[in-house]
C-alpha cells in the first residue's frame, strides 16, 4: 500500500512536469527533436537513422569486403575504387562526412543491375544496401 502510494505520487509529479514542459515548448516555440536534428546536421548531409535503418546497418556489417559483389554485379564503375563494399558505403553515407559525396555516387546505380541474385558469402543483400542508401538519401534535407 505504501509502495503504491509512493508510485502514484511519482507518476503525478512527472505528469505535472510534462504539462509544464508542454506549456514552455508552446510558449518558446521550440522545435521537436527531429526538426532540430535536421537543422543541425542536414547541411552536412547527415540523415537521421530510424530503428529499421539501424537494424539494417547491423545486418550490413556482416560484409567482409571480399569484393565478390563487385565481381558478380559489376558495382565498381559507379562507386569508385576506394568505396566499393556495401558496408563502407552504407556507413559512410550516414555518418562519415568526407565520404558522403562518394557514397552518393552509388545511387547512380541502376536498381536493375542489382536485381540479380546476390552471391555474397555473408548473405548481405546488395539490393538491400541500395534500398537503404535510397531511404537515407530521401531523409536528407
Amino acid at each position: 500500500m505504501k509502495k503504491q502510494g509512493y508510485a502514484l505520487i511519482n507518476l503525478g509529479w512527472y505528469f505535472a512536469l510534462h504539462i509544464i514542459e508542454l506549456i514552455f515548448r508552446f510558449l518558446g516555440k521550440k522545435a521537436p527533436g527531429m526538426k532540430r536534428f535536421r537543422e543541425n546536421y542536414g547541411a552536412e548531409g547527415l540523415a537521421p537513422l530510424s530503428r529499421a535503418n539501424r537494424n539494417n546497418l547491423f545486418r550490413l556489417s556482416g560484409c567482409i569486403g571480399c569484393g565478390l559483389c563487385r565481381m558478380t554485379l559489376n558495382l565498381h564503375p559507379a562507386v569508385g575504387a576506394s568505396l566499393s563494399d556495401p558496408e563502407s558505403l552504407s556507413i559512410c553515407l550516414t555518418r562519415s562526412l568526407p565520404d558522403i559525396q562518394a557514397a552518393r555516387a552509388s545511387l547512380q546505380l541502376s536498381p536493375d543491375s542489382l536485381s540479380g541474385n546476390s552471391f555474397c558469402p555473408r548473405g548481405v543483400s546488395i539490393s538491400g544496401v541500395y534500398d537503404f542508401l535510397q531511404s537515407a538519401d530521401r531523409e536528407r534535407i
Binding site: 569484393g67 565478390l68 565481381m71 558478380t72 565498381h76 555474397c120
Partner: protein
C-alpha cells in the same frame, strides 16, 4: 516449380558442388540450394590436399613432401581430422582422394578450367606477399609457376601499374633473398601497363584485360624476355581465362604463370564459376535461396523450408547433403552460442561439444596461430553421417561434407579444399547409392 528432388545438396562450394556432381552419376534428380558463394570463391587458387603435419612455417623448400604421405600422416596423428575419421572406418583416404581428384579434374576440364596435372609432390607456388606455399593442386595457369620446376631459371615478377596489391619489386626481392641462395631464380621485377586500367584491385585489372586490353597488353609483353618465366598477378581472366592465355601465346608469350591470390581473388571466382558451369552442364538445379529450417521425423530428414523471394517454400528429398561451410559460408555460427545453422546439430571442438562456451577459450594469442575455434564443426561417422552427442546417427538420409565438419581448419591446415573434394566425393557417392 516442382520442389521434389531425389537429393538436395545445401551449399555449392567445392564440397557441395563435388557432392552434387558425383551424385548425378546415380541418375537421380539433384538440387543445390545455396545462400550465396562461400569460401571457395575467395580461395587463392591453390587446392591444398595435405600439408606436412611435421612441417613448420619457413622451413627449407627441400622438405616439401608427397601429399599422399602427408595425408596418411595426418590421418595417423590427428584423430579428429576428417581424414582420420574416414581412415578409422576402414577407408583408404589417400587412394579415394586420388579417385576424387581424377573426377574433379575431368569435370573442370570439361567446362574450360584445366587443372595442373597432379604429381606426388606438393607444388610450390608464390603468393602476393613475397612468400610461397606448398599445395597439392592448382589451376593450370598457376601450377605452371611451380618453383621446383623453375629452379635455376630466370624468373620475372610482373607488376601492373596502378595495382598496389601486387608489389612486384618487393616480391622479387623477398624471393631472391629467401630462396635465391638455394638455387631458385634469379628473380627480378618489371612493371607493365594494362590498357584501360587506371587503378583499383585485381578485379578491375582483370576486367580491363577481358574488355579489350588483352592484345595490346600481350604485344607489349612479347619483347620482355624470351628465356625467362613470367609470373603475373592473378588477373588473367575471371570468366575468359582461356581466351586470355591464348591471346598471350599468340603474341609469343609462352612461358608464364599467375601467382596465388588474396581476396578479391580472381582465381577463386574463376573456380567457383567453373563449378557452377559444371553443375549446370550436368543438369543440377541451382537455387539461390536460404534454408530456414528442416523437417525431420525419427531418423530421417523429410524436407527443408526455403526462403524464396520473401516466401517460404518446402523442398522434399530422399537424401540430403550438408555442405554449408563453416563461419564464412554460414554452416557454423558463433553469435551468442556455437550453432550449426540448418539442422541444429551439436558442434564440437576436438572432443568437446561446445554451445555457450566462451570463444576466447578457443583462440590462441598469436593471430596466425592454430585457433581451435576454427576447427569447430559437426562430428560425422566414417560414412559422413552427422552424429548426435550420444554418437548416434542423426538421420539415415543425411550426409555432410567440407568445412562444416569438425576437426580441421579449412583455411590454415593446408588441407582445405582437399577435405572438401574428398568428403564431397564420398558424400555424393553415398547419397547416390554408394557407387
Amino acid at each position: 516449380m516442382d520442389n521434389k528432388f531425389d537429393i538436395v545438396v545445401i551449399g555449392s562450394g567445392m564440397a557441395g558442388a563435388v557432392a552434387a556432381l558425383k551424385a548425378v552419376e546415380s541418375g537421380k534428380k539433384i538440387a543445390v540450394i545455396r545462400r550465396g558463394y562461400g569460401s571457395t570463391a575467395l580461395s587463392s587458387g591453390a587446392i591444398d590436399l595435405a600439408a606436412d603435419p611435421l612441417g613448420a612455417p619457413g622451413r627449407p623448400l627441400e622438405d616439401n613432401r608427397d601429399w599422399q604421405k602427408n595425408l596418411k600422416e595426418i590421418a595417423r596423428r590427428d584423430g579428429f581430422h576428417p581424414y582420420a575419421v574416414l581412415a578409422a572406418d576402414g577407408n583408404a583416404p589417400d587412394l579415394e582422394m586420388a579417385q576424387a581428384l581424377n573426377f574433379i579434374y575431368r569435370e573442370l576440364q570439361g567446362v574450360g578450367l584445366p587443372l595442373f596435372p597432379v604429381t606426388g609432390k606438393n607444388l610450390t607456388l608464390i603468393n602476393p606477399l613475397g612468400g610461397f606455399k606448398f599445395t597439392g593442386l592448382a589451376q593450370e595457369s598457376q601450377g605452371k609457376g611451380d618453383l621446383e620446376k623453375l629452379k635455376g631459371k630466370k624468373t620475372i615478377i610482373l607488376g601492373v601499374k596502378n595495382l598496389p596489391e601486387f608489389p612486384a619489386d618487393y616480391i622479387a626481392r623477398a624471393l631472391q633473398e629467401s630462396i635465391g641462395p638455394a638455387g631458385y631464380g634469379p628473380f627480378s621485377a618489371r612493371e607493365i601497363e594494362i590498357p584501360g586500367f587506371s587503378g583499383g584491385t585485381s578485379f578491375e585489372a582483370a576486367a580491363a584485360l577481358e574488355a579489350d586490353g588483352a592484345e595490346k597488353f600481350a604485344s607489349a609483353l612479347a619483347g620482355i624476355s624470351a628465356d625467362a618465366h613470367l609470373i603475373f598477378p592473378p588477373i588473367l581472366g575471371a570468366l575468359r581465362a582461356r581466351e586470355l592465355s591464348e591471346t598471350l601465346q599468340k603474341f609469343g608469350v609462352m612461358d608464364f604463370s599467375e601467382s596465388l591470390a588474396v581476396p578479391t581473388s580472381i582465381p577463386g571466382f574463376r573456380l567457383q564459376s567453373a563449378l557452377d558451369r559444371a553443375l549446370e552442364k550436368r543438369g543440377v538445379t541451382i537455387l539461390n535461396s536460404r534454408v530456414i529450417s528442416a523437417g525431420n521425423d525419427a531418423h530421417r530428414v523429410q524436407s527443408l523450408q526455403v526462403e524464396i523471394k520473401g516466401r517460404e517454400e518446402k523442398f522434399e528429398g530422399q537424401g540430403f547433403i550438408l555442405a554449408t561451410g563453416k563461419y564464412l559460408g554460414g554452416g557454423i555460427e558463433r553469435g551468442r552460442i556455437f550453432r550449426e545453422t540448418v539442422f541444429d546439430l551439436p558442434v564440437f571442438i576436438g572432443e568437446k561439444p561446445v554451445k555457450e562456451d566462451f570463444i576466447k577459450d578457443f583462440l590462441t594469442r598469436e593471430p596466425l596461430g592454430p585457433h581451435p575455434a576454427f576447427r569447430a564443426g559437426i562430428r560425422v561417422n566414417g560414412k559422413l553421417k552427422p552424429l548426435l552427442l550420444n554418437r548416434e546417427v542423426f538421420a539415415e538420409n543425411l550426409w555432410a561434407a567440407g568445412s562444416v565438419l569438425a576437426g580441421y581448419d579449412s583455411t590454415g591446415d593446408g588441407a582445405g579444399l582437399g577435405v572438401a573434394i574428398l568428403t564431397g566425393f564420398k558424400a555424393g557417392a553415398e547419397a547416390g547409392g554408394g557407387s
